[in-house]
Symmetry: C2
Subunit: 163 residues, 2 copies
């Protein structure tokens, strides 16, 4: 099949589809829908949100199916699951390089970033104790500078900080 010119989103969708196919699972209508949703998502939606978006293509698709497919995709390493503070896991297609997250505590916005210097220090610290890093997780919960900490609109109470 000739490599037609396709959008980034299409390419991602293909990649995800291929991953599933390679995993030996069948490509169903509902899976295709979720794959598309994941491919065009540039944020970090949770399972319920992904389900909501998938329903536009396949009304009636069940949440279980979404969860099951997400697990399959995660097993194939083509999507990543993040467990940020609070509640449900959030997902993103894993086509990007490794990166960490900065979460705006006021808006819930997620900003991706990566610091080789930090990675290096982490490895160094682990090595000092005779360990090697299998994987790591780093999340910075941040607030726009200058903005005063009014009543934060989100979940966990009394969690202000004194770093």
């Amino acid at each position: 099949m000739p490599k037609k010119r396709m959008t980034k989103t299409q390419e991602r969708a293909e990649r995800l589809t291929r991953a599933l196919r390679d995993a030996g699972v069948r490509i169903t209508r509902q899976r295709t829908a979720l794959l598309n949703v994941l491919a065009e998502a540039d944020d970090h939606p949770d399972a319920v949100e992904l389900h909501r978006r998938s329903e536009e293509q396949v009304p009636g698709i069940s949440l279980s199916t979404v969860y099951r497919t997400l697990s399959a995709l995660e097993d194939q390493g083509v999507i990543q699951r993040h467990q940020f503070e609070g509640d449900a896991a959030r997902f993103e297609h894993a086509e990007t390089e490794h990166h960490d997250h900065m979460i705006d505590v006021d808006t819930g916005n997620v900003i991706e970033f990566c610091s080789d210097r930090i990675e290096r220090l982490q490895a160094e610290i682990a090595a000092e104790m005779g360990y090697e890093i299998v994987h790591h997780r780093m999340e910075l919960y941040v607030r726009k500078k200058g903005r005063d900490g009014g009543a934060s609109a989100d979940g966990l109470p009394g969690d202000e900080e004194q770093d």
Copy 2:
């Protein structure tokens, strides 16, 4: 009240008790038990484990009470709740300085560490994007060097730790 010579554990227990008292809550038998358990814990037990240990002092204490008291203590900032990968939240008395965690993926052991250099870099990165850090979370999932990643025996590691 004369400052009697007391063990570190006793001091911690006092501190926790005081925190609760200051919060205006009553000091009950079950709370005292949990406070003692927390004070003498040098690992990172989860609620169920804390309940188990508390039962030795107050047979019949309910898990709800443990959860409720843990929340109160957390609100007072005298204990910290950590949501490591996988399952239940794990707790530790917050008398120590801020630190991050390294979790041995094979044994479940938790090692505490702190790196000013990393903290500085984190603040720097946030600042570059116009943010200031409210709090952060960093966990290194590690493995003893040289040890090959065989099929890890246990899925849910206990809460052992060596200080």
